[in-house]
């Protein structure tokens, strides 16, 4: 029997080998801001556990390296992720001296490389298995559920990021709420305004170039500059429009952040609506008119359903973009996960930065998967039956 290697597997196996053998697994620091000591797997874990992790990683690397069934590869990815999740928690407990609340243990480069390798492997296996959209959402739910169980079990409580969290639990959830409100609220507003604008652009050709170029221009304004530009008009509105201040409109804070995110969101929504509508087969439109559909019936019965996948793609771009961009809102007092990022940068406490960054990434990632599934479920029959 000849041994055959998997192309991507070779890369992943090399990454795993490097992460396990050469890179540090966990970093120990005496307190949250001093530089730390990096520890390899054998130093970071009790002797038996370290050997066990090495063995597990060797098995995973072997499965990845060779041409193995995709299902097995997915199991290896899930197992690898679970293993490093458990062992990093153990490392935290092992490295922290008893009753020392200043010491910090955080994952080091080796851990992150392993996380990346197994995530890549999981993504690759899932792509190869081509699961139905609902199954993908289910896989996401299982993964998030697994992470939640680990979090609640206290396994990670020794890790620096959770030590940062434990002191700020109330604020964390408050900011999480603000972050989601900002991202989703501005998305909702941009869809509400962008869809009609897109339809208008599609129907009134002379408007198209002008409006799309304006939105393009807005897209190029750096977010901080946009916040600055918005201070004056929003401040004016707060002072001069009765009731505006009462609903929270001010020159700084959530209002300018919301407006900025809304403006950034308009381009993808409007542009994708225009492209989607333009992609509707000319004959279908022509026939719809020729057999007596009114403009409204044609829009809702023919054009919208056919353009929906492209429009949803635009909404997906906006959602992921907004979840990331909402981090900046903290700069002008708009709240959100950015609060931790900027506090952390200010205090050179990278664990605090991580506390803001990690949930943002998870949120954006989850949103992307859910919307991708939604897009696929809305795709024309043509593509679905071809994929089947």
């Amino acid at each position: 029997m000849s041994i055959r290697f998997d192309k991507l597997g070779v890369v992943i196996a090399l990454l795993i080998a490097y992460a396990v053998l050469a890179a540090p697994f966990a970093t120990f620091r005496a307190n949250r801001i001093v530089p730390g000591d990096a520890n390899g797997i054998l130093d970071a874990l009790p002797a038996g556990a370290g050997m066990l992790l090495l063995g597990l990683m060797a098995c995973a690397a072997l499965i990845v390296l060779l041409k193995t069934p995709t299902g097995l590869r997915l199991v290896a990815a899930a197992g690898g992720l679970a293993a490093i999740a458990v062992f990093i928690g153990m490392a935290a407990t092992f490295l922290t001296p008893p009753s020392n609340s200043y010491a910090r243990v955080s994952p080091a480069s080796g851990f992150w490389i392993l996380l990346f390798s197994f995530a890549l492997l999981a993504a690759d296996s899932i792509t190869r298995l081509r699961p139905l959209p609902l199954v993908r959402v289910l896989l996401l739910a299982i993964t998030l559920g697994g992470a939640a169980v680990v979090l609640m079990s206290g396994l990670w409580d020794g890790l620096s990021i959770l030590k940062e969290y434990s002191g700020r639990a109330d604020v964390f959830w408050l900011e999480a709420g603000r972050h989601v409100t900002l991202a989703l609220g501005s998305l909702f507003a941009s869809v509400l305004v962008g869809l009609p604008l897109g339809i208008l652009c599609h129907r009134v050709a002379p408007l198209r170039a002008g409006l799309l170029n304006t939105l393009n221009l807005i897209q190029t304004i750096p977010s901080i500059a946009l916040f600055g530009i918005l201070i004056a008009p929003l401040g004016w509105i707060a002072v001069n429009v009765p009731g505006a201040a009462a609903i929270g409109i001010r020159g700084i804070g959530a209002a300018p952040a919301f407006v900025a995110l809304f403006l950034y969101s308009l381009l993808p929504v409007v542009a994708n609506t225009v492209v989607g509508l333009a992609g509707v087969p000319r004959e279908a439109n022509e026939a719809a008119r020729g057999i007596g559909m009114t403009d409204r019936q044609r829009l809702f019965g023919i054009e919208f359903p056919l353009a929906m996948p492209v429009i949803l793609t635009g909404i997906r771009i906006v959602l992921v973009q907004n979840i990331g961009l909402a981090t900046i809102a903290a700069l002008i007092g708009g709240g959100g996960f950015g609060v931790f990022v900027f506090q952390g940068i200010g205090q050179t406490a990278m664990d605090l930065v991580l506390l803001g960054a990690a949930p943002t990434v998870v949120l954006a990632f989850a949103a992307a998967i859910v919307l991708d599934a939604l897009i696929e479920m809305n795709a024309p029959q043509r593509e679905r039956s071809r994929a089947a």
Binding site: P281, E283, A284, E286, A287, A288, R289, G290, I291, G292, M293, T294, Q297, I302, P305, L306, P380, Q381, R382, S385
Partner: protein, 312 residues
């Protein structure tokens, strides 16, 4: 009856259709021919007001076509285009039901109509109703497109190069089906094409458009006999004239009494095809049979030659 009365269409000073008047008899097939840019499609689209004329009027059974909103008018007129124009996200049944749904027919009546039309177009309702357009062959898509145009039982069916995207074999079948259905339902058909063979095969009357003007409107034989202009002459093709004449009528129309040997011809094929069969068989006469197989008589080389000669 469709009366086109001094209709003109200008776009930014460009005259696309210039003062065209013609009367289309009910229950006939009228084919509008011309080169691209001759204004034939614009003329067709002014009948159901997809294009609004600059001046002139069009009357359907005496009623001005501007007496009701455009979309209501279009629901009463069938419309089929090249490349079928089926809605890709709707099933065959939903596509055919489009206009009846717009008109608010009851479900039972719609279902019955869809089944009737699918059967008429030789598509098994059980197998095809739930399919999507992309799951059909080109010929099937085209048939569904025509079925959709006929769903609300219109008196008038407008067709814009309906068979342009089909390969020759399927096109011939589609043309034969269209003629059969026209005879069955008595629909008035106005069809635009640039294919002269198609025009001669289908038309009771042919309208020739050139640079926006109607240069000749008459029976196919008249066009061959007395072309109004050089352009009509070129369009018909000088060397094609006898064959054009033969392609107007069927073998059944040329039947003479008398015996003949060989494989019988179907009475529905054109005289042109009959001539071709005679030449190929190397015989001077062949029997002609009706659909049920009874021998009606024979066609002869001599008889067909006479019919192909310049009418006196």
């Amino acid at each position: 009856m469709i009366e086109i009365d001094g209709i003109t269409k200008r776009y930014d000073g460009n005259t696309v259709v210039n003062n065209v008047s013609m009367t289309i008899e009910p229950r006939t097939v009228t084919v509008i021919v011309g080169t691209s840019g001759s204004g034939k499609t614009t003329l067709l689209r002014m009948i159901n007001r997809l294009v609004e004329p600059t001046s002139g009027a069009i009357r359907l059974d005496g009623e001005d076509n501007r007496s009701m909103p455009g979309f209501e008018l279009r629901r009463r007129i069938g419309y089929a285009i090249q490349g079928h124009g089926l809605f890709p996200h709707r099933t065959v049944a939903q596509n055919i039901a489009t206009v009846p749904v717009l008109l608010g027919w009851g479900k039972a009546r719609i279902d019955a109509k869809v089944t009737e039309l699918l059967t008429l177009f030789q598509l098994d309702p059980a197998a095809f109703s739930a399919r999507f357009p992309h799951e059909l062959s080109g010929g099937q898509q085209q048939r569904v497109g025509v079925a959709r145009a006929l769903a609300a039982e219109p008196n008038v069916l407008l067709m814009d190069e309906p068979f342009g995207a089909l390969d020759p074999i399927i096109r011939a079948k589609a043309q034969a089906d269209l003629l059969a259905i026209q005879r069955l339902l008595g629909t008035t058909i106005v069809l635009v094409t640039h294919d002269m063979d198609e025009a001669f095969h289908l038309a009771h009357k042919i309208a020739v458009m050139d640079k926006g003007a109607l240069v000749q409107y008459g029976r196919p034989a008249e066009l061959v006999k007395d072309p109004a202009t050089e352009f009509v002459q070129t369009l018909i093709g000088t060397s094609e004239r006898p064959f054009r004449l033969l392609s107007i009528e069927t073998a059944g129309d040329a039947v003479e009494p008398g015996p003949a040997g060989g494989k019988p011809l179907a009475e529905t094929i054109s005289q042109r095809d009959a001539l071709s069969e005679l030449l190929w068989a190397g015989r001077s006469a062949l029997p002609v049979a009706a659909a049920d197989g009874t021998i009606l008589g024979r066609v002869t080389l001599e008889g067909l030659t006479r019919r192909a000669a310049k009418p006196q």
